[in-house]
Homo-oligomer: 409 residues x 2
């Protein structure tokens, strides 16, 4: 039998996956499991967008343009304009999800061995795409105590080496829910400019900014135009994770030209979902307003409940739909497994994502967990009941110094 | 401005693309252009499969299983059984087109620098995926004069080095239309076994075998089960190129496990198209019978017309929907450009794919072209009228020795 390759053996696998059999087992035993572990929203995909797919009179599902339907990219121009980003359809490439966008960007912009700086904790799958492209992730650790604010300019500068080719931010952030304000991003852009780096910004949660915060994109920094590449997706925004429609946006012609070649190689993004994506841009604004309000209500539930739990260190996340918290436990992996295997509260339990997987630095995040608030507030409250009860009875409970975060009030 | 990477600059771009502006210009000038240059069929996607998408009552377009919906993979079991391939749903991974399948396979099975043997001419985009994976393509040249039959065992053995990790065949073949018979594939499988190589078989044209030929898959060779990986797609079979639904099929557990990790990394294949793909398996058999008959009629038109053209060397292609021919011309690139730029026959012309791009060996295929017979027989005849006329008037016409191929009668 021929052997697979070393990279094929070692390719990154999300550490959260190993909890799935325990969740399946818990359900098989009749437990109700509240899934706060993955970012699969429960919000309806806009019915009008699904209807647009049903209304197509497509007779042949042919290849679309490799860079995506022009009609869709044209409409995206106005979408981005509303966010202060002035673009042409040729500044955009429609990708098969943000996943493909990240891979193509890494391949286009970075050579094997090049370094990319990412504030941690970060979306764990970035590791896998970095591995596919042979790129080295250099994390800068953010602190839960200050709500995972962006590292300082000094921190970034200290992390830059001769091999640094890019900085990668996620704004609003997954897994922390942190929204980076304009002044901080303008500071960051100076460093990017001075060292002539790429700045990749994953902005798939752009809409989800709470408490009246104004979203600011690094693409709005005018003299940074050729350094910035935006990664985008309709997955979270329109609860269409299965559509696999993402976008790469850049005013750097070389980047767009190179990514275009990768796009041509894989022929085209999926057809029906481009129709769906285009239709999302005509969805009544009330859909998004209600979605944002709903997520903010959920954020409030999670934040309020967590801060009332003895020994939990948390902060008020300003965006996306995640909360990251430090729990009075010995180990997140063990705790999350225990929740599924050994715990229930009136026949119910919850599934969380252990924090360690979101850090590239070994040993960090051991007592932290990510919660995706993708359930309605009733279910979220019940899940929080479970968590509260679990923390009270977990045999691996430890005492954390109760440090309320600076941003929690 | 930060510079993109060397690989980003050098990533393979199909040489055929450079003709597109000339085709656009020809059309702008009012010429009718018959497109024989790309494999985008004009056959209708099965209406019942499109209807299945319209009939879904999906409220949330959620992530599917990363390896594809189980319901689809279950149905594929019977599909493959009809071809003598005995499989379990867990032997299959649904990919975003065959393109993704090829990339994942190269990454999983081959290390950077490993060699993969591919009979040439071959589907040009294989080069790009090889480049993405850092894999070296070692071509073995097939001969037009014997209808591009599979190279002999001796040829394969001569090409094997210490770095050879896999052999990659396309059966039925794109761009040659050659169908490899069972006895030849069984011979090949012996070499594969002796050298313990992977055997990748791209079988996306499986149905399209003419003249009563029986399709044989290398996956039917029982003691080769752990060496073989099949690449599949519904794109050509069901005229659904824009669906981006492919499959990787293997009974090698390590391969499937590794590809599964790559699949999880990009989360899931597209949702609506998995519904479409599943529904194609319920399409009335008459759809496929009629499609095959139609392609065979077209093959006959192209074959008959080409053999009547003075100076053209061709053969009767046995499958897929391509013909590859040698023309009495100085250079295929020039000729194809001239067809669009300087030629018309009653206001009509045709677009072909120059042969050179299908060869990895430099200097080969210069006088060859590929024709995809994806037009109805009327249009095909008119396109052949154009070609005949063009060959008579092309200023770069040269005299080829008229060698009728062994398989052309």
């Amino acid at each position: 039998m021929p052997a697979i390759s070393k990279r094929g053996q070692e390719i990154y696998l999300s550490p959260f996956r190993k909890l799935i059999p325990y969740a399946d087992q818990a359900k098989a035993e009749g437990k109700k499991v509240y899934h706060l572990n993955i970012g699969q929203p429960d919000i309806l995909t806009p019915p009008s967008a699904i209807q647009a797919v049903k209304d197509t009179d497509m007779k042949i599902l042919a290849y679309s343009q490799a860079i995506g339907n022009l009609s869709y990219r044209k409409k995206l121009v106005s979408y981005y304009k509303d966010y202060g980003m002035w673009l042409k359809p040729s500044d955009m490439i429609v990708t098969t999800g943000a996943s493909e966008a990240i891979l193509f960007l890494f391949l286009s912009c970075l050579a094997p061995g090049d370094e990319i700086i990412i504030p941690e904790p970060f979306y764990a799958n970035y590791n896998g795409f970095a591995q596919m492209a042979g790129v080295v992730v250099k994390p800068i650790t953010c602190s839960l105590e200050d709500g995972f604010a962006l590292p300082t300019i000094n921190d970034f500068e200290a992390a830059i080496t001769e091999k640094t080719k890019a900085i990668f931010i996620t704004n609003p952030n997954n897994p922390t829910g942190c929204v980076y304000p304009e002044d901080i991003l303008i500071e960051l852009s100076q460093i990017v400019k001075v060292y002539d780096l790429f700045l990749f910004a994953d902005e798939v949660y752009r809409e989800f900014c709470f408490d009246g915060q104004q979203f600011f994109s690094v693409l709005q920094v005018e003299d940074l135009a050729e350094n910035v590449v935006i990664i985008d997706s309709i997955s979270k925004r329109f609860s269409a994770c299965g559509a696999r429609i993402g976008t790469i946006v850049s005013r750097n012609r070389e980047v767009i030209d190179s990514v275009t070649k990768y796009a041509k190689l894989r022929l085209s993004p999926p057809g029906f979902e481009q129709v769906l994506a285009e239709a999302t841009l005509d969805v009544d604004p009330s859909y998004m307003e209600e979605t944002i309000e709903e997520y903010q209500r959920r954020r409030d539930v999670v934040f309020d409940r967590l801060r009332q739990m003895e020994g939990v260190v948390n902060y008020r996340p300003g965006g996306a739909f995640y909360a990251f918290a430090k729990l009075p436990i010995d180990n997140g992996d063990k705790f999350c497994q225990w929740l599924l295997e050994d715990f229930d509260h009136n026949g119910e339990t919850l599934m969380l994502a252990p924090g360690e997987g979101f850090y590239a630095t070994e040993g960090l995040g051991e007592q932290e967990v990510r919660m995706a608030y993708v359930l309605n507030t009733n279910d979220l409250n019940r899940a929080m009941d479970c968590l509260e009860q679990a923390l009270a009875t977990y045999p691996g409970r430890v005492v954390l110094e109760k440090v309320n975060s600076k941003v929690s009030d």
